[in-house]
Symmetry: C2
Subunit: 378 residues, 2 copies
Amino acid sequence: MRRTNASTKPLMIFPRGMQAEPQAFDRVLSSMCTEPHPVAREAAERFLATNPGDPGTYPTISALEDDAIAILGEIAGLEEPAGYLASGGTEANIQAMRIARERADTDRPNVVMPESGHFSFRKAADLLEIELRIVPTDEDHRADLEAVRACVDDDTAAVVGVAGTTEYGRVDPIPELAEIAHEVGATCHVDAAWGGFVLPFTDYEWNFAHAPIDTMAIDPHKMGQAAVPAGGLLVRSSDLLDELAVDTPYLESTSQATLTGTRSGAGVASAVAAMEELWPGGYRTQYVRSQNNAEWLADALEKRGYEVVDPTLPLVAADVPRSTFDALRGRGWRISRTATGELRVVCMPHVTRKMLAAFVADLDRLEVRASVPVVADD
Amino acid sequence: MRRTNASTKPLMIFPRGMQAEPQAFDRVLSSMCTEPHPVAREAAERFLATNPGDPGTYPTISALEDDAIAILGEIAGLEEPAGYLASGGTEANIQAMRIARERADTDRPNVVMPESGHFSFRKAADLLEIELRIVPTDEDHRADLEAVRACVDDDTAAVVGVAGTTEYGRVDPIPELAEIAHEVGATCHVDAAWGGFVLPFTDYEWNFAHAPIDTMAIDPHKMGQAAVPAGGLLVRSSDLLDELAVDTPYLESTSQATLTGTRSGAGVASAVAAMEELWPGGYRTQYVRSQNNAEWLADALEKRGYEVVDPTLPLVAADVPRSTFDALRGRGWRISRTATGELRVVCMPHVTRKMLAAFVADLDRLEVRASVPVVADD
């Protein structure tokens, strides 16, 4: 064979940033991901070159995935754990909508979701050609049950509830949503991608034990402190996964229910390592620390005259003006905004009281409203 | 808030296998993934906690992704590189089919693909509700052009060609497939997920410079020696990506064209590192070594009386009986079979001549056909 296609261009310069420190989380307040726990990092590095998508070739990581689902099931109150580790919450949400579509007895399926639902459901709807019916939330940013009831019909394939919304950390009334879903023969899906690792330490009703929900997204790589990519899809019974299965020639397994083919062993191993290490005691401690930080920040912002959405989970939203927001970003703070423009700070495990105090001090410098002294004691 | 939900079960035992060596590739002959190159591993470890899906928060890894697409474009003959790093070839194939569906002016889109196409297209068809029309291959396992021509119609959204098939490493006649596709207003997608990093050193016509193809899957985490997950989707012009875009509230970017949301910075960084290190010289050397290994193995099997499919790329298929296949698996060899039951060995970078010699020696022991001495000299 001749070898005629290769470019003879010189190598590019070693890419920009590759030398820089990419993992400095000291100013990241916007992310729902975090620094992996040390045991998760170690496991990720050891299993970097494995593929749970090919269990015939990589049986060890495949067995570890079973362990991951067992622990996730325990966290989520699922008696006979079934599901798989996905690339993230988006894949889990897409796959749950796909299960719902396959089970729905209609040619024009719709999904009913509160406006607080994640944008991944828009992706799912576009991909799966499902009509997405978005209903309002109530004054506390939770799904408005009357609006949901008025919106479902015989073509409804799924009703979505969020357990820890992306913008305000709110938990929808899950048992009621499940009831509405089942009344019209739809599945009930809970998006606990972010909330799933803090909700066990609250008294919210959010999981498989609390309500007859069908599917759930719950991501070890968010509050679970695993390395990306480690999302989680849980299903109440394994026959729901059959809706996703395709045959797999060339692999020594017979079918595959995942959206992706090759998958990251690093994500799976790190999820198991983090959950083994932290469930439940470590996660409980982390929840308390994060929640206290959120309440401290909410208090600090409120004292400065900003309107703050009460952080019922470790996530703070406040009406900081756009110019101030931009100036804070200019100072290197990684922050983001809600759809209506509020500053949004996610108190992930890497977010310390000291970081938040530095953030508030920067805010004071910018706003010249610094009437309240900042004290950091965590 | 009360804390009533947490389980009080004791921690599980440290998971089985976590202590074992998971990355021993010395018997893996079935995988299209491989050991990441050392520079790829290092980059993956450094960027483990970054998310290119959130460029506002993680700008460094986002810039690295641009670099990755630039190099991939160079490899694939794309003048104005556009695309993104996907979780793998499955996502790239799904997204290419989604682009085709969105652009097709029909309510009943179909996709025409040779039977050698990867099973990920079945997944895509199921997900996207596209009719998948599978056409036969010719006696050399390449797409039968007459069959493709007979199968396309006004509802055809895409014609798929494979550049390096999963079973036999064959390259379909890409320019002809592109012509057939465009005659009916369909896109032409090339699946070079595995082949893309060896084909530049052959005289095949497979890429954007050789034919007016529209989209391509080309995976750094296969022959490109990056860490999983690092697939690649390339598109001829960036407006094709617009078909995939959804709005992204909460992120400081405005839209997202990827299938997943959170993505692995490890995959992106490792892809850049591997491609910077190996393109083109290192990949050329690897191609030569892999191809020589494949030809050596094909020769050894042929001498033993097996029917062997000529390895035109570094992949060998041979009609080893099922009982022998099972016995080889019993000896720890990770091997797999084609749909028609042939043994299939992929000569990835981790596959050495010594490994192949040990494999053939084991085969001889099992078959008692050892009339030809095995010599390993690589």
